[in-house]
């Protein structure tokens, strides 16, 4: 479903990871580990296509990837249902009922997102993944501001997604409680700066 070969990616002009390869099949989850600043976010953004790779290749089928970053993309003045319906419609999907149930948002549908708690807001942001209908989830620290029960619920939702033939690539510091392989990105920390670095400036 996702195949990354010999990838080099950089942030702010400095390479942070190099020679990184990974692959992900349907039904598989991969957890990225590494201390702050080790390049997890950069890697995920590169895979999501938000920034170009310096070298190497990223292969996945078109329109299969759903990305969730540090920000939720939630509109404060729209209600929970309006937020989800927008993203569902944009991805050509219809119903938001399953996502509302999976992420424990029932009863909050008509509430404006600005009146949600941080955790509820985060759940709304994650529920967006489910309404995109896309199989490959690329998640950056999805459990920030979630309580223990919500983390468990999120893990259950991810489990359901995996059983349904989806795949999940996630960067996290906490134990999410579902079966997943682990990849420590510090092994791929970039050692070399490009030869021309420092000349142009």
């Amino acid at each position: 479903m996702l195949s990354v070969r010999n990838l080099t990616c950089s942030r702010g002009g400095l390479p942070v990871l190099e020679g990184l390869s990974l692959s992900l099949a349907a039904g598989q989850a991969l957890v990225l580990r590494g201390p702050n600043g080790s390049g997890k976010t950069t890697l995920l953004r590169t895979i999501a296509g938000l920034q170009p790779a310096d070298a190497g290749e990223i292969v996945h089928d078109e329109d299969t990837l759903a990305y969730a970053g540090h920000l939720d993309g939630v509109k404060a003045v729209l209600s929970v249902a309006e937020n989800l319906t927008f993203w569902a419609g944009l991805h050509g999907q219809g119903s938001i009922a399953a996502a509302v149930a999976d992420f424990d948002l029932a009863g909050l549908e008509d509430r404006a997102a600005q009146h949600l708690s941080a955790g509820q807001r985060r759940r709304l942001g994650l529920a967006r993944l489910a309404v995109t209908g896309r199989p490959l989830w690329v998640l950056d620290e999805p459990t920030v501001s979630l309580d223990t029960a919500s983390v468990a619920r999120f893990a259950a939702a991810v489990g359901g997604h995996l059983r349904g033939g989806g795949a999940v690539l996630v960067a996290t510091h906490v134990d999410l409680g579902f079966d997943a392989e682990t990849l420590d990105v510090t092994r791929f920390r970039a050692r070399s700066l490009p030869a021309h670095f420092g000349e142009a400036f």
Partner: protein, 218 residues
């Protein structure tokens, strides 16, 4: 594209969306000018086309930084970039929504304000028409400027500096349409130039803005 357009309209109309802000600004500028210039009705009649067009242009400028900055702040822009809708389409939808919430109300309100500035009666129709044709270019150019400044903190001022020079052709042709209309001269050539600026902007700027957004999202 329709969904993004409708969402932006909803956001503009909801609390804090800024709908009506541009219109109120337009109204106030048009009301202030006679106070500043004096009650010389002949003078007001002469400057009315230019004043109304400059006021409309500045009113349009007020809400430009909302086109992309808000979506960038809450992360929606990144998610839009990974959505099936091409970024070019997203830019076009957002520029269109901006026009419907600013340019269109300005065009509708302008003839009323023409009364305050003693605009020649035969020019009212041309004022409405020139604003209807010209203001979409203001939204499109503004969307391009908004895309350029999207990652910057307090990019609003820079946005104004970038965008205002690009507004000059629309301003010249738009005000000229109204002036010729008031003087009962033929307007077809100027009107077609005004339309050409808008159509050219619509053809090129969504692509330019999308390219700039991709760079700025990195």
């Amino acid at each position: 594209m329709r969904r993004l357009f409708l969402r932006d309209l909803t956001l503009a109309i909801r609390a804090g969306g800024g709908f009506g802000l541009s219109l109120a600004f337009f109204l106030i500028v048009a009301v202030l000018v006679p106070f500043g210039v004096g009650s010389d009705t002949a003078l007001l009649r002469d400057i009315a086309p230019g004043v109304l067009w400059v006021a409309a242009l500045l009113a349009c400028l007020l809400s430009l930084d909302r086109i992309f900055a808000l979506d960038h702040e809450d992360g929606s822009l990144e998610l839009l970039a990974t959505a099936p809708l091409p970024l070019e389409g997203a830019v076009a939808a957002k520029a269109m929504a901006h026009w419907v919430t600013t340019g269109l109300p300005l065009a509708v309100a302008a003839p009323l304000l023409g009364v305050l500035l003693n605009l020649a009666p035969q020019a009212f129709g041309w004022l409405f028409l020139s604003l209807m044709i010209g203001t979409p270019a203001l939204s499109l150019i503004g969307a391009f400027g908004g895309a350029l400044t999207v990652g910057l903190r307090r990019g609003g001022l820079l946005l104004s500096l970038l965008v205002l020079p690009l507004y000059i052709p629309t301003l010249i042709f738009g005000a000229e349409v109204v002036r010729r209309g008031a003087a009962a001269e033929p307007v077809a050539s100027v009107l077609s130039l005004l339309a050409a600026v808008t159509l050219g902007s619509a053809a090129i700027l969504p692509f330019a803005a999308a390219a700039v957004l991709r760079v700025n999202l990195k």
